[in-house]
Symmetry: C2
DNA sequence: CACGCAATGGTAATGATTTTCATATGTAGT
DNA sequence: ACTACATATGAAAATCATTACCATTGCGTG
C-alpha cells in the first residue's frame, strides 16, 4: 500500500487511493488506508494538502524537509516549489507576533501549462 | 445576520454563527447562514480559513485587500499579519512556474501570548 | 497447541456542508 | 386592489469524507 502511494507520485486522496487499490485486486480496507496515510503524515513522510472540497490529499515525501507545492486546479498535478522566502517570512512573523510555536500552511493553486495553454476544449 | 458576523469580529464557523443567532432569538435557518457566508466570501468581503477538523471559519473583512492571518490554536484569536513578502513571493513563483492564474492560501497557526505565557495550567 | 496482542477490514456513526422543495415575501403589471 | 412571477427563506433530507467500533485474522511466544 505504501508502494501504491509512492507509485501515485502525486497528491492522492485516501478515497482515491483505496479505490485504486481495490481495483488493482488488493484486498485492503478503507480504514487501513486512512490509518496508514495518517501514520505516514504523522511520521512526516507524507505531505497533506486540503482540497477546496475539504478532502485531504496525501503525497509521499522521500526526503525529510518541509515542502510546499503548487497544484494544478484542473489536473491536480503537483509541483514542489522553493518556499525559502516563505519560510523566512514565517519565521520572522512568528518572532515578531508574540505567538509561540507558529506553524504555517502554504498552498498554491493554478493552472499548469498543459491544462492552460492546453487544448482540453478541442 | 451580517451584523452578527461583524459583531463576532473574529473567525467563526457557520455552525457556530447559526447557533448564536438562534440563541439570540433570531429566526434564521442554517441554509441561510451558509448561503450568506458563502456569498460574502465570493464577494470578497469575508476571509475563509479551514480548521484542522475540516470546518470552515469565516471572518468579516471591511477592507478590500487580500489578507492573511495568524490564528491561535488554543483560543482561536485571529490576528492579521503583514503578508507582503508572501504576496511578492507568490507572484514571482507564479511567474516562473509556468502555471497560470495562480492563487495562494497562507495560514499561520500558533499559540497567542495569552494562551502561551498564560496560566491556563494553574 | 493454546494464549495474547496488535493489525485489519467491514460497517455504522459523525459532522459539516449542499441540495431540495414547499412556503413566504415582495415587486411589477394590469 | 389583485394576480402573476421571481426571489429569498427555512426545515429536513441527502452527500461525502473521515472516524469510531468491533469482531476477526495472523503471528509470535510460552
Amino acid at each position: 500500500m505504501l508502494a501504491a502511494l509512492i507509485r501515485a507520485a502525486d497528491f492522492t486522496s485516501a478515497q482515491n487511493l483505496h479505490q485504486r487499490l481495490v481495483e488493482a485486486g488488493e484486498r485492503v480496507g478503507l480504514s487501513t488506508v486512512y490509518r496508514t496515510l495518517t501514520a505516514l503524515a504523522d511520521a512526516g513522510r507524507a505531505d497533506v494538502v486540503r482540497e477546496p472540497g475539504g478532502e485531504r490529499l496525501f503525497r509521499y515525501r522521500p526526503s525529510q524537509e518541509h515542502r510546499h507545492y503548487l497544484l494544478c486546479r484542473i489536473c491536480g498535478l503537483g509541483m514542489p516549489v522553493d518556499a525559502e522566502a516563505v519560510e523566512v517570512w514565517a519565521a520572522r512573523t512568528a518572532a515578531t507576533s508574540g505567538y509561540a510555536d507558529v506553524q504555517h500552511t502554504v498552498e498554491l493553486t493554478g493552472t499548469c501549462p498543459a491544462c492552460a495553454g492546453g487544448d482540453h476544449s478541442s
